[in-house]
Structure formats: C-alpha cells, structure tokens
C-alpha cells in the first residue's frame, strides 16, 4: 500500500508521508513555513497563527492541519506574508520587547521573524503593559515583559516525575506563564539551560551567563530564520 501523498504549495509538488502535518511535510520538502509556538515533539495547538496558510482558498494553520492528497496551498504570497508580519507586529506591541538590551537578541525567534518579514515599525500602537520580572529562582529569571504565551516551556520543561515547572495564571489580558516557585528553587543548571533554549524569546533567561555568546556567533546573526529548511 502506498504510504505517500502528493499536494502542492505555491505550485511546487510536495511528496509527504501520510499522517504528517502540512508544516512537517513542507519542511521535509525544503519549503519554509514560519512557526513560533510549534515545537518538535509537542502536539501542535495552532496558537500563534504564524504558520497560517491558505488551503483551497481558506485560511488554516499548517501546524495543526494534516497533509492530504490534492491540496492546493498558498503560503509564500504577499497576502499571507503581510498577515504574518501583522502577527509579529501584534506580538511586539502587546509586550515590552526591547531588543537592544535583551540577551536573547540574535538567538530570538520573534526578532528573527521580524527581520525575515521586514518589520520596521509596528503599525499598531504599543500597549506598554506593566509586567513583573520573577527573579526568585536561583537559576532563571522569568521576564513577563517578553513572554508571548506560546506554552513551549509549559509543555517541554518537566521534572523526572512529569511535573511542569511552568503553568498559566490568571485569564484574559492578565494571562501569564509563571514559574512554580517551589520547583524553581530546586531547578538544575541543565533544566535552566533547556528552558532558556526552548523559549523562543527572552522571557526565560538563565542566570549568570548573560551575553556570554559573542555577536557574530549567535543563531541568527548571519542567516535568516528558516534558512536551514
């Protein structure tokens, strides 16, 4: 039985294994679709909408949509790229993202997406929310100014017993991802580093190692995000 399907993205034929999502199939075929909240090994949720595409004329999130034979997909089009840029701008204005002094600069996926989609100044007004910095853990700082609520830390940073270090608190506009204060005090260096690495922005910062990576060697210093696809 044939285990592959064929469909098209921007006119290019994609051959994919059955069961793959559109974004996985696209990346397997060298076609970049941007993502932010999506993370390998974690069930997709389509939260950030960065991976929005048009399937047969209808907007869908490519991280949650299983690839199906015969799909006609639009991705790298002016209309969709403008939409993606707007999503990036909304994320920038809804938090306090000050790249010049952020140590995640150069390794930050949000910043890299902003460069890739050529965001200059957001077209939306800045909200400048008043946010707290939780520095109570001896290993990390949780900076709410920069959190984009992607849940990557909630889903990937766990104890050996499966307990989550991070969880949601509050609702609506006040929704935040917080660090469990007890687990935070017992966090290892390895978990702290993993949490920082898995955070797409500078919301989780490992203590004492700030700016250890020189400019020029950071992930997106010389190549745009998505170049590796």
């Amino acid at each position: 039985m044939n285990n592959t399907i064929k469909f098209k993205i921007d006119g290019k034929e994609i051959v994919a294994e059955k069961g793959k999502t559109v974004v996985e199939a696209a990346h397997d075929n060298g076609v970049y679709i941007p993502t932010l909240c999506n993370f390998p090994g974690v069930p997709p949720k389509g939260g950030c909408r960065m991976c929005t595409i048009k399937i047969n004329g209808r907007f869908m999130t490519s991280c949650t949509t299983p690839a199906a034979a015969g799909m006609e997909i639009e991705s790298n089009t002016p209309e969709i790229n403008e939409l993606r840029k707007s999503i990036i701008e909304l994320l920038f204005v809804s938090g306090n993202h000050f790249c010049p002094a952020c140590e995640k600069s150069g390794n930050c996926e949000l910043q890299a997406l902003a460069y890739r989609y050529q965001m200059m100044v957001p077209k939306f007004p800045y909200s400048f929310p008043v946010k707290e910095v939780d520095a109570s853990s001896p290993k990390i700082i949780k900076d709410q100014n920069r959190c984009v609520l992607c849940q990557r830390c909630m889903k990937t940073i766990k104890t050996e017993d499966g307990e989550r270090y991070f969880a949601f608190e509050n609702r609506g506009n006040n929704l935040e991802v917080i660090l469990d204060p007890e687990l935070g005090k017992k966090m290892s260096d390895e978990i702290a580093k993993l949490a920082m690495d898995n955070c797409p922005v500078g919301s989780i910062i490992q203590k004492e190692v700030g700016f250890i990576e020189p400019i020029g060697t950071r992930k997106y210093d010389k190549v745009a995000i998505g170049t590796d696809v």
């Binding site: 700082i141 203590k207 700030g210 250890i212 020189p214 400019i215």
Partner: protein, 483 residues
C-alpha cells in the same frame, strides 16, 4: 536696556543644550548659564533588571562613546561577581577591554577634533557658518577630511573586533569578556591595507597634533586667553602616576598643582564626591566634598588628565606631554582651548597603545572570565574620552539591580563649562551694541572645547541645536536668535 541672550541649541556638540546670557543696562554681562534641557532617567529604569544586563543596557545612553559606559558598568559588575576591582581579570580579559577602550578613545577624539572643532580652526570663529562646518572642511581641505574619516573608521574597526559591533557591542561581561582577538583580526588591525593599519594611525595622530600646534603658534593670544580661568582638575591615574585611561586611583590637583585628592580607591567615591542640583538644569553639579560647593568643583577630560598624571607610558605621547607641561612651567594648564592640544596628545597615546596591545600575545588567550564570591555593591570608574565616568550599582539577593548612580564625564565638567561660557560672554559681548553670529559661535567654541556629551550627562531625550535670548533686567525677552 538690559538684555538676555539665549543660544539654543548649542551646535556641534553631542546632545541638546542652551545658553542664556543676561546683559545689564550698561551693556555688561551680568550672568550666563549653560542649561541642559534633556532628561532621560536611565538610573531609574535599570532598576529591577538583572545585573548582567547593565553594560549592554546603559551604554545606550550614547552613540558616540558607548564603550565607556559599557566598560564602566562591566568594571562595577566585576566587583559584584567577585572578580576584583579592576586588576582581578585575566590578562586577555584586561587587555581586550583596554584595546576596546583605546579604539573608543581614538575614534571619539578624532570625531571631535576633525568633525566638530576643526571648522573653527580652519575657517576662524567669525567665518561664515555656511562654510564653517564639516562639509566646508571636505570642500576646502579634502585631505584633512579624508584623514579624519579614515582615522575614525579605524577606531570603529578596533571596537568591532573587540565588542562584536561598532556601536553598542557586548564584548565586556561581568568578570571578563566574551571573545578574544583572533590572529586574523590582529593582523588586520596591525598590518591592514593602507591606510587602515596601526602605523598609519600613529603617523596621522602626530600630523593632527602638528596641525594644532601650528594653529596655536599663529593664534597664540586667542588660544591661550580664550576662557582661561583657574580650577581644580580630577582624573584616574595609575598607581605610579602614569596616565591610565582604563583603571587606576582617583587624584585631583588644585590650580597650583597641589594634590587635593590622592590615591583614592574609587570604590569609596561617594565619600569624596557630592552632586548639587540647581533648578535651571537637568545636569547636576559635582564637587569635592571636603572643599565644598564653592571651591570643590573641578575639571575633567583631556586637559585635567594631562594636569593630573606624572607621565604618559608611550614614547611619542610622552614627548608631547613634556612639551605640553613645559608650556605652563609644570603647573596645571587652565586654558580651555588647550583641551584640544591635550585631546590630540591622548589621540596619539591611544594610537600607540593600540599598536602595543595588538602585538601582545595575551590577546589570543582563552581564559576569558573569572568570578569569585558575589558582593551586592560595585563601583566602576573609567576615564571616558570626555572625562572621569562613575558607575555605581547595587543588587538584591535575586540578582536584580536595586540602585544605579551614574556621574557622567560631562556632568563633572558642568561648572567649568558654565565658567567658560561666562568668561567668553564677558570677553566677546561686554559693551557690544549688537550680538553677532560670531559672538554666539565664540560661546559655542568655549563649550565645544570640553567636547560635552549632553545626552549622556542627563542620562536624554531630544534634538540638539542653540538659541540666544536677550532679556532685560525685568526678565522680558528683548531679542531671540536661533541657530
């Protein structure tokens, strides 16, 4: 009728300031002030941030000499992370920072001399302002202009290879640095294609110095008497009295050369220096506590440094230093326009020091960072191009900054700049019926000699340029001239 003249904004300086000059019924200057009208608030919004962010965040005070803030903050944080007070770093950590700092000095001094001040020397204080600017220099003195641009470029390249970026890099981190200098980078800076190599920079620095000395020779009265007034002088010096722009102890001399502060560990700076607030300026007025507000103010920057140190540890600059000191028979030099002379001697020192450092194999070492027992307070002091720069931080047990106090170079020169404005206004405007553009520029020339960075000094929002207002004794505005 009494008048008040306002010059706003002051041009060809970094930042935004204005000057007011009050003239009485007899046409004599009654009072003059340099107002700094910018406000920024870095000391406040750095609070709550993790301490290691400070060197990268606070350097955004300035785009001209961010390296100075970057390094002063890093030095303060060295103390906090237990790496000692300036001499505890590894050899590569110390020398990479020094190289970065010398690159900064070189480009900043060159920028000031060639881009901001040379138009006054080349065309004259009273020349047509349409020519008396950097474009005029390019048009009429092309070789000199190109030299200035290339020298500044070289300094920026040194910063790029040590800090990662030409402006606002990240090279210095608490306890050391995040990169060493590769052999390829060293060779590029030391022996790069002409003119961008160390030897050429030394040669051009000597030429710039000779240019100023020739100007001095043919305009001796102007250069020697322009805004000349007695003052104290303060700077860092190496323990043995040598000029050291990166690290040392605080020393101050009075106008006769007597030491009024000596061998002071800058961790205790707040025992010796106080800041006064005056309601007409956002820039504070620092003074030496034990001498009080009236007698304790001091100059900083190139002139002060050459008045305070005993010698310069590079041969060509030392020779020039000896000539400079001999000019005032070894006594402190109080002539404002001699700031330019002193600045160019320091430019030569920076070029020689860059060449020396590049030949040092320690720059290729791998032990970049040291740390020890953490403290909750650290003070970093450095000689920035414009003078002594103080950074003081305190942190809580969660590594967040709870207090930041910055005394910026230009702030230290606040009272001297006001004195210089006053002297110049009196010399050029007393008894004059009409205020000319040349007179206003003379006031600016006095301010410009100090190479003030007004945006740094108020830690600032806003634009730059000089407004002069003529105000009568009842404070009514009679006349306003803008530039």
């Amino acid at each position: 009728m009494p008048k008040k003249i306002t010059i706003e904004p002051v041009t060809r300086v970094e930042g935004h300031g204005k000057v007011t000059i009050k003239i009485d019924d007899e046409g004599k200057v009654r009072e003059s002030r340099l107002h700094i009208v910018e406000f920024r608030g870095f000391e406040r919004f750095v609070q709550g941030r993790p301490y290691w962010e400070a060197p990268v965040l606070v350097q955004r005070l300035c785009g001209i000499c961010p390296v100075s803030h970057h390094l002063a903050a890093a030095k303060a944080l060295d103390v906090i992370v237990g790496a000692g007070t300036g001499d505890g770093l590894t050899a590569v950590g110390d020398k990479m920072r020094r190289l970065m700092h010398m690159g900064q000095f070189f480009q900043s001094h060159v920028l000031h001399f060639f881009h901001l001040s040379s138009p006054d020397f080349l065309f004259g204080i009273n020349a047509d302002p349409a020519i008396r600017n950097i474009i005029g220099v390019i048009e009429h003195h092309k070789d000199l202009a190109v030299q200035g641009v290339m020298m500044r470029k070289y300094g920026q390249e040194v910063i790029y290879h040590t800090a990662g970026k030409k402006i606002h890099g990240t090279g210095a981190i608490p306890g050391g640095i995040n990169k060493n200098l590769s052999i390829a980078e060293r060779d590029l800076l030391l022996n790069g294609a002409a003119p961008l190599n160390a030897d050429q920079m030394v040669e051009w620095s000597v030429a710039a110095l000779n240019f100023f000395k020739a100007y001095h020779k043919s305009n001796q009265t102007l250069v020697d008497t322009f805004a000349e007034f007695p003052s104290n002088h303060l700077s860092l010096v190496r323990k043995d009295g040598a000029m050291d722009l990166y690290h040392g102890v605080l020393r101050a001399v009075d106008t006769n050369g007597n030491r009024i502060l000596d061998d002071v560990d800058y961790q205790d700076y707040d025992k010796y220096i106080e800041e006064e607030v005056r309601n007409w300026s956002y820039m504070k007025f620092p003074y030496l506590k034990h001498l009080g507000k009236e007698k304790g103010w001091y100059r900083v920057g190139p002139l002060a440094r050459l008045n305070v140190c005993d010698f310069i540890p590079t041969p060509l600059a030392q020779k020039e230093f000896e000539e400079f000191r001999a000019y005032t028979n070894g006594k402190p030099n109080n002539m404002s326009l001699h700031y330019h002379w002193a600045r160019l001697i320091e430019t030569l020192y920076a070029a020689e020091e860059i060449r020396n450092l590049l030949k040092d194999p320690d720059l290729q070492n791998e032990d970049l960072v040291v740390k020890g027992e953490k403290l909750n307070k650290g003070v970093g002091v450095i000689e920035a191009p414009r003078g002594t720069l103080f950074h003081h931080y305190e942190i809580n047990e969660d590594d967040q900054i709870t207090l930041a106090n910055l005394i910026v170079s230009t702030t230290n020169n606040n009272e001297p700049m006001n004195q210089a404005v006053n002297h110049t206004a009196k010399s050029f405007m007393n008894g004059q019926k009409e205020i000319t553009e040349g007179m206003m520029n003379a006031v600016e020339v006095a301010i410009r000699a100090y190479d003030p960075c007004l945006s740094c000094a108020t830690h600032a929002l806003g634009q730059m340029p000089l407004e002069m207002k003529l105000i009568d004794s009842n404070d009514n505005i009679i006349d306003t001239k803008n530039k």
